[in-house]
Subunit: 706 residues, 2 copies
């Protein structure tokens, strides 16, 4: 028994609350792409065959009607006696404020995934009172709202009281001596980056309290340039909790003259996770352990209503950031619900009128994220739910091609990466073609998985959507990319065709960056020979400009692992993420350039504290260590088969857990021994170690000496 709604409508509604909560220096800052709404009226229905009568209780979020065996009943009944036999229940709910939702409690009649929901039943009555027509009935959306009082519209994250680590009086009098006509300013430190609601305890007096938040001490002290702040009217009371959560480590509290507080604490806000089924990593290198832990904490802070990018500033869902969060999550919490919520929220509703987050590449990552999810979880139902929305999004992409290439139209943002070297993003960018090609392949995989559209109840959509052979389109594009962009002389995929004359190959911009070549490796588009060329001439070539965001370092280091460069990757992780730790990071950053000094690290977007110091894409060691060092991944969807390719590199030992739908696979590796423990449900695995291939039987502990 659970609350039901129209699929993805809870996410769309929650997403609007989530994305519109961002502020910038006290101004509300909503996204710049369209925000959809839930369907205000939907109908839930189910037929039952009862052996004996039973009374059901009906709980609804919204105004509703109740149709029993095709007959509308008076008012809004909250109980109904269903006689024995075959009966049909239809409940139509209207709720403009939050998603129309239903909970039915009975002995055999219960609201669950076996119900159906529609936003247009299309059932019309002729002049003789006979009903006709056929709507589109879908499997309803639901999550973990499993009691009548646990209503979806009441959803909020969990909270926990946290004390400050230190609190200093910067000016005025200290908080326990009443000030005499002077404002009091406190600097409060919570010891590490966090997110939640500042709490003022034991308030005496009345006035406007100012709060200046900082991820760094410098930011909290800078009233004029800190990114977030609050000015709130407060009266004498034992405890005042600020209305909106913020991200901070430090907060400067300015009390008006005459006001005192006993202490400043916070309500830490978080999404509860199942720690028992989580991933873990530990090894003989303490710095690496600390990197993994700080990565895990960065992930926990950014895994909230949705996978968020940065907790201080952005606070929106971003598809390019999210796909990395999903992958990290498969090696950390295996929180499938949050992955699904985020994928649904990012996609929103039809019609598609912009790329996801307006970014060309972010649309392409979104496609791939659906299949990644399937690969790690084996959850075909979710692919079926998403496929209609994949279809219309791909239709949008296909409608915006230029001579078959994916280009940035005037209202598109071509992102690729924040780079510290000159690189334009115009014309036919090779990097985008690889992403587009992978999207087409993903469409074909999902199409084959889902089967005929009619089974998705898409009768009114498929008429206007031609049956596209995505696989053929992908193959054709791949050949075109190779022919156009691969340079045997540079041993690299070149950057772009200039926009001035797209069809003239002499118009090639021959800049070499790591982006296209490393995606060719990651997406399996480069054969072994070409992989070797790319490794030498691109990835390890000091002439090719360095990547300075953890975002693209994720892919760079993953590609290097694919190419067997584990030792280099390990020292890079230690140098780069270790570098942030040396700078005092308690969570990982949006961008890190080791060449910067001091407060320079805090700057971005032309603002002194513009950089996010807790950014999901900073946490990639969590993924890299699990996937390429513990080396575990599914080889068929949902770990029905899987492999372990552990790489100890220069470590003495390592051990860890990699989550699966059935619980974690545990692995322990030392110089000559591997121990693998697999939970019941996971299929047979294959261990690759020291040039050997060893079969791992399901559901047991296996010890291999090598």
């Amino acid at each position: 028994m659970t609350w039901l709604w129209y699929p993805a409508d809870f996410e769309i509604w929650l997403g609007n609350r989530f994305n519109n909560r961002r502020t910038e220096r006290g101004a509300m800052f909503p996204p710049f792409w369209k925000q959809d709404s839930h369907w205000a009226t939907v109908e839930f229905s189910r037929e039952y065959e009862l052996a004996k009568p039973e009374t059901i209780r009906i709980y609804v979020e919204g105004r509703y009607n109740f149709m029993f065996d095709g007959k509308l009943q008076f008012g809004e009944p909250t109980e109904w006696l269903v006689p024995a036999g075959r009966h049909k229940i239809n409940i139509k709910v209207h709720n403009p404020a939050s998603p129309p939702a239903l909970f039915i409690e009975g002995e055999t009649i219960k609201s669950d995934a076996s119900w159906r929901v529609t936003h247009e039943d299309k059932i019309w009555i002729d002049e003789n009172g006979v009903a006709h027509g056929s709507g589109i009935y879908l499997v309803p959306g639901f999550w973990n709202f499993n009691t009548p009082s646990d209503r979806p519209s009441l959803f909020r994250l969990a909270r926990e009281e946290w004390k400050a680590v230190s609190s200093h009086v910067l000016s005025g009098t200290s908080s326990d001596e009443p000030s005499n006509g002077k404002a009091t300013t406190l600097l409060v430190d919570f010891g590490r980056e966090t997110m939640g609601y500042i709490v003022l305890n034991g308030i005496q007096g009345h006035g406007i309290v100012e709060l200046y938040y900082g991820e760094s001490e410098a930011e909290a002290l800078d009233k004029d340039y800190c990114e977030t702040l609050d000015k709130l009217e407060v009266e004498t009371c034992p405890r005042f909790v600020v209305p909106e959560s913020k991200a901070f480590r430090f907060v400067q509290v300015v009390l008006p003259k005459g006001m005192t507080v006993e202490s400043v604490s916070m309500e830490y806000e978080y999404l509860p996770q199942d720690l028992a089924s989580s991933g873990s990593f530990e090894c003989s290198d303490e710095e690496l352990n600390r990197i993994w832990q700080v990565g895990a904490y960065t992930m926990d802070l950014t895994t909230r209503e949705f996978m968020m990018d940065g907790i201080k500033r952005d606070r929106w869902t971003w598809s390019g950031d999210a796909i990395q969060s999903y992958l990290m999550n498969y090696y950390l919490r295996f929180d499938c619900d949050t992955v699904k919520r985020t994928i649904r929220q990012l996609r929103g509703k039809d019609p598609v009128s912009s790329h996801i987050n307006t970014i060309l590449d972010y649309t392409f990552y979104w496609f791939k994220s659906v299949y990644d999810y399937y690969q790690y979880t084996g959850d075909r139902d979710f692919v079926c739910e998403m496929y209609p929305r994949m279809l219309t999004l791909m239709d949008y992409c296909l409608g915006r091609l230029s001579e078959g290439w994916a280009i940035g139209q005037p209202d598109d943002w071509v992102f690729i990466d924040w780079v510290d070297f000159p690189m334009h993003k115009r014309g036919i960018v090779c990097f985008e073609q690889f992403l587009f090609c992978k999207s087409l392949e993903t469409m074909q995989l999902c199409k084959d998985l889902v089967g005929p559209l009619s089974t998705l109840q898409m009768s009114n959509l498929h008429l206007s959507y031609p049956d596209v052979d995505y696989g053929a389109k992908a193959a054709e594009l791949r050949e075109k990319i190779d022919k156009t962009f691969w340079s045997p002389a540079a041993h690299a995929y070149l950057h772009a065709l200039e926009p001035s004359n797209l069809s003239n190959p002499s118009n090639l911009n021959s800049q070499v960056t790591k982006f296209p070549s490393m995606f060719a490796i990651l997406y399996g588009y480069a054969d072994e020979q070409r992989q070797r060329e790319i490794l030498e001439h691109v990835m390890q070539n000091p002439e090719v400009p360095a990547i300075t965001t953890p975002y693209m370092r994720f892919y760079e280091l993953a590609a290097l692992c694919q190419l067997g460069q584990h030792d280099d990757v390990l020292s890079e992780i230690k140098a780069y993420w270790g570098g942030m730790l040396h700078e005092g990071a308690t969570t990982f950053w949006e961008k890190y350039n080791p060449e910067m000094k001091g407060d320079e690290h805090l700057t971005m977007y032309g603002r002194p504290y513009g950089k996010s110091l807790c950014h999901a894409w900073g946490a990639s060691p969590v993924y890299l260590l699990g996937r390429y060092f513990l080396g575990i991944e599914p080889t068929s969807p949902g770990y029905t088969t899987w492999q372990a390719k552990p790489h100890l590199s220069n470590l003495d030992w390592m051990r860890g857990a990699v989550p699966t739908p059935f619980g974690p696979i545990r692995i322990e590796v030392s110089k000559h021994k591997v121990t693998l423990t697999t939970p019941l449900g996971v299929g047979p695995g294959t261990l690759f170690i020291d040039g050997k291939t060893i079969s791992i039987p399901p559901a047991q502990a296996t010890i291999i000496d090598y």
Copy 2:
């Protein structure tokens, strides 16, 4: 200065309240097609060049931010000092509950149609803090909310206290003697069909009051089958107003034992109209005058938040009903705002996932209604507003054709009419092809009127929408219709191609109904020869089954007028609408079959009171008398040129007013004299009388003796 919102979002929001208010025997009864929502977040913007500084006041419905010259300001400022010079204001508003709306009050800075609005500005900030991108900026929506306190979300119709005509105690004690343990039942009569809120005055006691509404006395007295009812808990109070408006002439009030009321009255609910600029009709025939007046009252009752079909039962917006209301309205109130609101509401938002009201023909009427509106008003801006939504709706239609024919797909309702004779609606129905052909022609007209899509700021839409030559498609279809459906033997367009084998012409269903042939006349698809054949062999052929709804009688009588049969039409109006008056009608009905007797007239949809006794499509004499007897119509958009073709028929005299955007044209016709008075603004006219053609100069009174 006026409140602004995203175009059509007010209508979509109001439409959801409107359409979800329908009840059926106390059960909420929402529509069976999808209901869209307003955009929850939109941005308003405008640049101003100020000669001197001024302070603006900012009123917003929703949470908002305020960006001045590209810089977000703290909080939600309600006043702002704008310095002299060039400045840009952007205000982003989030409001999930009602359309985000803005009102700006300043000396020169005022919220009006010169502002722009977008639901996705697509403006992104690069790593250097530079803004890029381009959204779709539209002319905002607005109406008559012209003061800060007159907020759009507070909109409600006007109300007026009406007393009952009679009130009888049916059982129990009379209302002024306290009952002793018995319920009291009253029957209250308001003298004519009306709509509003029942008011109980001077209540003593406490309990559940039951109200049974009836358009007829029989219905109000039939607790088990009346279509609408209320059961409400009421306590001692001087005045209790029921929460929702209902349509009724009679109401049965059942008071619980121990409760008394002093009197029952009502709050009549209505949309105020400008009577000075209204149309009128008066003639030497008193019955005809009464028919016109009852038609006008029927129209006033059904012209509300939107043009509604029937006030008792349906209470939804219906496109086929509405297009007739619009046409009647052009001869009655010329209430352009309500026409626009209804057209917007019916169309809703993209994506199109069903025909309008799920009905194939209703989609086609919707297209035509946009151009009709332009023809009567000359308001090109509205066509520009609607054109993008016309484009996507036509795209939907084109995606559902079968071999070029418009057919009912499995989830479509093919309506045509409620008929009292056997007629199937399957396969390729000729009637639907004429409507489809007119829709294509309308698309071409509007496309030519609107000009390049880029001027509509449709940059992100037009890429996926191919440039269709609607005119060519229409011409091709018209030829195909003629070839397939015209029968020289029957002198008629035949009914349909059977669905079993659509491409086999021998498969023709040769049933002759009036529907396709009369639309061939109305839409100008039959030449003079064919018109004569249709008149004789179809329209005046007693073998062809009679039309029994005022809905299709509208078109039937219009077609007969086109064919010059004014005398017959006049006697038909007297017989048919006069017939309803003889049955006691105070408003015109959904359906009228003169062969029925007594309470049989109340039945429909298999229910004893299913028929609507106040149905907009019943009011067609208002249109027919204005358009074909007073004979006035625009010959170019918005009465820039116009014609009068008065037909006195067998009347001694007639006079009336026909509204235009500039005020009414007045005409008075007697046997040998026509007086025409035209308001300032109306262009030159042409009078056709007695075989003569006479030019009428603008803005004066012209008297013609003939």
